[in-house]
Amino acid sequence: MKPVLRILSRLGHATIGGVERLGFAARFFSAILRQSGTSVVRPQLVIKEIYQAGVLSLIIVLMSGMFIGMVLALQGYETLVRFGATESMGVLVALSLVRELGPVVAALLFASRAGSAMTAEIGLMKTTEQLSAMEVMAVDPIARVVAPRFWAGVISLPLLAALFSALGIYGGYLVGVRLIGIDGGAFWGQMQAAVDWRYDVFNGVIKSLVFAVAVSLIAVFEGYDANPTAEGVSAATTRTVVISALAILALDLMLTIFMFRGGTH
């Protein structure tokens, strides 16, 4: 086969494979939704997974939020001081976090910390025939293993994003007010006046909810679809982090275009 034909053949093969996988992921998502009854009837299954995915991610999310808020305040001060607008630091920090950095960075951290763990756990359950054993025991693994993890991710991530933003704002306060010496009243007052509940906060929550669905779906799908070998689970875990990161950034762009469109409220 000529090199050009070979390249075209590989491209076609990869495209068909990609579309096939996307179709399978869509069917998998619909199966999760159909099999979510167990998660409603037995909420303790979801609560256990919220602990694994959410509570155990708290430290990394809270620490990152605090550091990012501090850095935002330091960088923001550099610019604001040139225009004599240092009192607007609260607004800068809050809007950056609530609209953008909170949902996006929390989702990226969640994908790395909890998403990869979900993929590895489900992949290893497949490798060690635990999912097969469930099937043979007349227990649907999607209902018993996948759906609770998916819903735990969907519930945990928006809460983590909110905590990320809250700690970020507090970090900005520590640097701006306590370290640099900006007036505390101006910091909080301007923030209160400029940040709109529906336009800024609610849209941020919507963003983190969309990211939560995307990251959780990618994590459980990659685990369930992993090749049942050590190498397969390792590759699936890597794919979870890479695909989640790209999906978060692409979805962020789309959502930002729809939500904010560069205008003001």
Binding site: F24, E121, L124, M125, T128, E129, Q130, S132, A133, E135, V136, M137, A138, V139, R144, Y224, D225
Partner: protein, 298 residues
């Protein structure tokens, strides 16, 4: 996925193997069961994951109610595939798999789940849930399929664990058990709901002689005490001959010999002899097909 995505292929059914007694010229062994007494039947079953490679080709076998039947053969000969067909995890490309007279391949989702509730399967490596304790592993099918109060489940679980001699391990995690102990816990989980049919996939693999003997005797005793019908997939001839009622030998996806224990022991069939005596040379090749040694080391 496993069911939907498996590409099935159809192979021409192979002729059924003669019972070993007949093949050896000795008196023919009795049929594994009288007509109408079969609980599990495979009729001319063929299966392959790809069109190029058939795992099973025209396999016919019968398992009578209440008996313990072994399916034996070398690694990769299609023994485990027989169990997966019975569980409905894969569907035959040709032929019929009947359990209690009902074809497994045409079962709808609800029927399939009802069918699986009557089965208990011991996986080759136990497949214990690693995030649960031994107690929770055995209690798992009870919690999922019954409304029994926790106190009753506790007593039942301890009774099952006591039957396999591991009541004292109830609060341990599977990672804290030896291979033999994990297999016995998996056995307790297999019989948790007193299944009608028990399927054992290589229950003796990797066990020390004591554990091997204990597990073998447990399988026999449980079959008789609980009135189950059991299918044992293994390549351990010596242990199987001590506990089973009937044996099927599979090689390259076909049933090549079958018979009761006495006829298998007395058989002069070359395949059976090679397997029973553990001979390196015979109808089953030890070496995977390759170039000659002279070509490879030239």
């Amino acid at each position: 996925m496993t069911v939907a995505d498996a590409s099935l292929s159809i192979a021409a059914p192979a002729a059924s193997a003669a019972p070993v007694g007949a093949a050896a010229g000795a008196p023919a062994p009795s049929s594994p069961c009288a007509a109408g007494d079969a609980l599990v039947e495979l009729k001319d079953v063929s299966f392959g994951y790809t069109k190029d490679r058939q795992i099973l080709s025209g396999v016919t076998l019968t398992v009578p109610r209440g008996k313990l039947v072994a399916v034996m053969g070398g690694s990769g000969c299609g023994k485990t595939t027989v169990l997966r067909l019975l569980c409905g995890q894969i569907r035959a490309g040709a032929g019929e798999v009947l359990v209690g007279g009902k074809p497994v391949a045409t079962m709808k989702r609800d029927e399939m789940y009802a069918h699986r509730r009557r089965l208990g399967m011991l996986f080759q490596f136990g497949a214990l849930f690693t995030d649960m304790t031994v107690f929770d592993n055995v209690a798992f099918p009870m919690h999922e399929h019954t409304d029994l109060p926790d106190e009753i489940i506790r007593d039942l679980v301890l009774m099952k664990l006591n039957a396999v001699g591991l009541r004292g391990t109830a609060q341990l995690k599977p990672s804290e058990l030896s291979g033999g102990m994990a297999r016995r816990v998996a056995l307790a989980r297999t019989i948790a709901l007193d299944p009608q049919i028990a399927l054992y996939d290589e229950p003796f693999a990797g066990l020390d002689p004591i554990s091997l003997s204990v597990v073998g005797q447990l399988i026999r005793r449980l079959n008789d005490a609980l009135g189950m019908t059991s299918i044992l997939v293994t390549h351990d001839v010596a242990e199987s001959l001590k506990i089973v009622d009937y044996i099927y030998f599979i090689s390259e996806g076909k049933v090549v010999a079958h018979g009761d224990v006495a006829s298998i022991k007395a058989s002069t069939d070359p395949f059976v002899r090679q397997f029973v005596d553990g001979e390196p040379d015979g109808p089953v090749r030890f070496h995977y097909p390759a170039k000659t040694l002279a070509e490879d080391f030239a």
